[in-house]
């Protein structure tokens, strides 16, 4: 489409390219100039039909990527990516309100009529069937499961430093994480209905060597018809304690269009990129699907792999690069995470610090430690959750709260009416006793996923 053409029409819609480091990157590929006349001709011709007209109505004040509204930071309008602006949204609500829940779309939001919706199931060891929305709501038992979803790339903005700019979207700040009650039918029940012996597989009386993946494709597609897709392992899909759902409700209301109306996959404990929205097809596969968007977007590389190397600037030949891409693991579950959301000065003596902590794969938060001196010393926070802790089924985040006593020196300063500058740190530990890494650098990865180094917040405390 844009080959042999001018970018202006395309970037009128994809405004997220108006960022200094992206403009600079483009200069690396410059080979020539147009005359002024030719430039005028080609620019006049360049236009891209706005694919996003089917999106729900957006805030008209959003003029460019990374716009801040009263409630949200809109990382990009096309496709729509937004996170709550105020971190207290996370720490004040155990269940994030739907309108403040982060949204990561890869394409335009498809417009799907309730009675037109159809879900196709096909592949290894199942009968090819089609189900309507009514089928999904009436033929299967409804379950409600509280589950946190975090984008694999949450906290990406931390990676975007001046000497190492990040070239992946959408540059989340902190809040691409939210918790909700999801209501729908169990994926394993639907697969069972399609003929798969899920009970036999769970009990170990039935084994299929040629069935390893469940691939999901969404109704959303880009301008050329490429759909968003994601895969989960078959073990997760058939596990009765895996709690995979095909949901039609979010926080007891109809699933909003931005969150996948009418049907979205919820694979609890897995990264947001696996929770395919607007599910159109489910395919049971032996080998990983080439249509899996995560195989391009959500791989984890070693810190020495930089964008230049991926860009094949003479460092690697095509085959080597292909091998490198193929061997880097694709993200399914995410590492342990904690985010400081709020703090208060209590009588110039203590700081009350609140936040959220979550671990992928259903692991529980065993502990969350908080520091008010940049990580020199820690105090264990109180874990607050209305949900019973289980073994490997802890899909929801927990809130933490910690009262940390200020040092005598700082207390004295506040008493004398002076401000103090300190660094708050949080560090969660899951029940495998894996802890968040102290520093970003050893875990830097070029695609900006699984970002969970200590959350550091520099604050100035004023006297009460």
């Amino acid at each position: 489409m844009v080959g042999g053409n001018d970018l202006s029409g395309y970037w009128k819609i994809y405004t997220l390219h108006f960022r200094e480091h992206i403009q600079e990157l483009l200069q690396k590929y410059r080979i020539g100039n147009l005359t002024a006349e030719d430039r005028a001709i080609i620019e006049a011709e360049s236009s891209l039909n706005n694919h996003y007209i089917t999106d729900p109505p957006r805030d008209p004040n959003v003029t460019h990527a990374d716009t801040i509204t009263d409630d949200l930071i809109i990382a990009s309008l096309h496709p729509y990516n937004a996170e709550p602006r105020d971190l207290k949204v996370l720490s004040d609500n155990f269940y994030t309100p739907n309108h403040l829940f982060w949204v990561r779309n890869h394409n335009a939001v498809p417009l799907i009529e309730e009675d037109e919706y159809s879900l196709e199931i096909s592949g290894q060891h199942v009968n090819s069937i089609e189900l309507s929305l009514k089928d999904l709501k009436t033929k299967f038992k409804k379950y409600e499961i509280p589950c946190t979803i975090q984008c694999a790339g949450n906290r990406q903005e931390d990676y975007n430093t001046t000497d190492n700019p990040l070239y992946v979207a959408p540059h989340w700040h902190n809040t691409a994480i939210g918790n909700a009650v999801w209501g729908g039918c169990k994926l394993r029940d639907v697969l069972k209905y399609a003929g798969l012996d899920v009970d036999g597989m769970s009990l170990g009386t039935k084994e299929y060597n040629d069935l390893n993946w469940v691939s999901f494709l969404g109704y959303d597609e880009d301008e050329t018809g490429v759909q968003y897709g994601g895969m989960i392992p078959i073990e997760k899909a058939v596990d009765s304690w895996g709690d995979c759902l095909l949901v039609y409700e979010m926080n007891h209301t109809e699933l909003p269009r931005d969150h996948g109306y009418p049907i979205r996959l919820i694979a609890p404990g897995h990264a947001g990129c696996r929770q395919v929205k607007w599910v159109k097809t489910i395919e049971l596969l032996d080998q990983p699907s080439e249509l899996d968007s995560g195989s391009k977007l959500d791989r984890h590389f070693a810190p020495n792999i930089c964008f230049d190397k991926l860009r094949n600037e003479g460092h690697l030949d095509d085959k080597e690069e292909e091998e490198l891409m193929a061997t880097a693991p694709v993200i399914q579950t995410l590492p342990v995470q904690s985010i400081i959301c709020d703090w208060e000065n209590e009588n110039d003596k203590e700081l009350k610090i609140r936040g959220v902590a979550w671990a992928g794969g259903g692991k529980a938060i065993a502990r969350c430690d908080v520091s008010i001196n940049g990580g020199d010393s820690f105090k264990t926070a109180k874990i607050i959750t209305p949900i019973k802790t289980t073994w490997n089924r802890n899909w929801s985040w927990v809130h933490f709260e910690c009262k940390c006593e200020l040092s005598e020196e700082n207390k004295e300063k506040l008493k004398n009416g002076e401000e103090i500058d300190i660094q708050l740190v949080s560090k969660a530990v899951d029940d495998n006793f894996n802890a968040q890494p102290e520093n970003m650098e050893p875990f830097y990865n070029v695609l900006g996923v699984c970002i969970n180094h200590w959350k550091r917040v520099n604050v100035t405390i004023k006297p009460n």
């Binding site: 489409m1 970037w11 108006f18 690396k28 080979i31 020539g32 089917t54 018809g225 000065n345 917040v457």
Partner: protein, 174 residues
Amino acid sequence: MIGGISAASIGTAAYIVNTRKPGDNNDLLIHPQPPSISSPTKCDNNLKQIQKSKSTSSIDKKAAKLMSTVIKPGIEPYALTTTYTKNHATEEEIHEITDINKYMDKYPIIPLSQVREHYSPDVGDGTVWVTWKGGVYDVTQFMDHHPGKSIYCYSVQFKNVTMIVNQFRRFNTY
């Protein structure tokens, strides 16, 4: 809008606006201030230097030599700037922040007809070119790493049209 957020939403604590170290996160509740366009950036300084060097007589010869050199894509003609503004900008603003035409003299003029020939990796020499603000770019190497890969070249005619038709059909039935 940004100024109004600050004190009210964070109670007794306030932010230190300081230099950003890797891994630090001091933009918790307040989004950093968008770059001031009027203040000189490093790009402006580079531009001034280039303008300065233009006054020397050797510039024409130098430019002529560069134009005759085949510049391979992927090889940097200059060092990237190391100061980036953090935020996105509007289309107008980004032109003031990054004057991409400051390197214009280094490249030859390419006729439009030649640009149009490079629309797909499946035709001609297999390179894909695009233009932006009067510059011509060979993005063949970059395409595979761009999230919107398919937008560059695939389905030049047919699929595109059906997509648009489908889109309107769906829109109209709403």
